[in-house]
């Protein structure tokens, strides 16, 4: 077994702390992910899971601690970090007045990708029939799929997913899991914020729980009591 060293970790975060105003949301989170790992992040509402993701996505700066993503320092090389990650936020981040196809075409232009890839992506996420409709009329599940489609255009090495299963129907859940599996097989790592294990159980390698702003060594609250059982049963 290859021991993870600093140079080959996908995510190497030490003592990340972040406050909003006067209260600390994260107090010192230490986390390590190797390429090919899928790690779930659990915790109650407001425990700082989304904040952790946003710090790792370089959207907000930590007030203490440091991290490296694919070897690039968050503070020193944010542009390089951004080129490696794919961030699926809780908000869809789409333009309501543009059609599905236009949203992805825009993303392709911004990513410097060929716009001919867009239709293939639309087909894969099951939105080809409604590609010419404005996103304003989409259900939240469809918007989630479109956001996933944008992730496909990004082809990230590190996935930062914030509650990716919310609003998805069972076909959508399968889509998400199969995509994660594909990316992971290609060597990507994934950090997935969840509020319950359910649909993620089959793809997770392990979970961490954020409690009191830190990674809990012995979580007092299990988001899903079946968690340990399902993980144990799948032999991980």
């Amino acid at each position: 077994m290859v021991l993870p060293t600093a140079s080959n970790l996908a995510i190497d975060a030490t003592d990340i702390a972040r406050r909003f105003g006067a209260s600390w949301v994260l107090r010192g989170v230490t986390l390590r992910l190797s390429p090919g790992e899928v790690v779930g992040v659990l915790g109650v509402n407001g425990s700082g899971k989304s904040t952790l993701l946003r710090v790792l996505a370089t959207l907000i700066k930590p007030h203490a601690g440091s991290a490296r993503v694919c070897g690039h320092d968050l503070a020193g090389a944010p542009e390089e970090v951004r080129s490696q990650i794919g961030y699926l936020a809780h908000a869809p981040g789409l333009y309501d007045d543009l059609t599905a196809r236009e949203n992805l075409t825009f993303a392709a232009a911004m990513l410097d990708r060929d716009s001919r890839d867009v239709d293939a992506v639309l087909d894969r996420i099951g939105l080809l029939p409604v590609a010419a409709q404005p996103v304003r009329g989409f259900s939240s599940g469809m918007q989630r799929r479109l956001a996933i489609g944008r992730l496909m255009l990004i082809r990230p090495r590190v996935l930062l997913l914030d509650e990716p299963y919310s609003n998805l129907d069972s076909a959508g859940l399968d889509l998400m899991n199969s995509l994660i599996a594909e990316w992971v097989n290609a060597g990507a790592a994934a950090l997935v914020v969840l509020h319950e294990l359910g649909p993620a159980a089959e793809i997770l390698d392990r979970t961490v729980t954020i409690q009191d702003g830190r990674v809990a060594t012995k979580p007092t609250m299990h988001a899903d009591p079946k968690a340990d059982v399902s993980l144990a049963a799948s032999g991980r």
């Binding site: 080129s83 961030y87 990513l111």
Partner: protein, 228 residues
Amino acid sequence: MSLRQDWRRARAIAWKDLTAERRSKAGFNSVVALAVTILVMFGFALGPDGQAIRDAAPGAIWLAVLFAGVLAFNRSYQVELDGGALEQLILYPGTRRAIFAGKLLANFAFVALMLAIVIAVGIVLFQVTIPSAWPALVGIVACGAIGLVTLGTFYAAMASRSRAREVLLPLLLFPMLVPVLLAAIQATKALLGGNVMGDAGAWARLLVAFDVVFLVATFLAFEFVIEV
């Protein structure tokens, strides 16, 4: 990141902003309606005496466009804030200048069209005679629009994301626009008056110089104001 890639991104952003604006149904029409309404209000405030309102025409037109334009500038960032798109926009590769350039282009198209309509209405309401040097007038109006849009797009990046945005944007923007407005209004006035004192050219040159300075400064400073 190469210039060609950045230019592609800027065009994509400009196209996106203009498409979203065209389809939103509310935006452009209401902003232009507001500008025209303000112009009419100026007419009431300054008229009906012919000479008085003819003298006031350039100022009234530019101010009407300025007051309505404030709404347009904030709107151009609103489209990013509504669905959380700004975060994704920042995460794309490429320089921040591409984002600024794209928004500048879109806002310029918006303001230029608004100016055309407001000037047409102004010519009628304020009894303005179109001078023979009207191509020069078009040039001056374009340069004034560039200055207005440059500073407006820059400050709106901050104001749209702060509290009291409707107040903060004018508060930040208007004093900064004094040189551009003075130059544009004085040049316009001179041209409409037949340029008897020959100072239209001097004001026009000043206006272009101001535009260059502000374009360079805002391009350099934009990366500091767009991060979340």
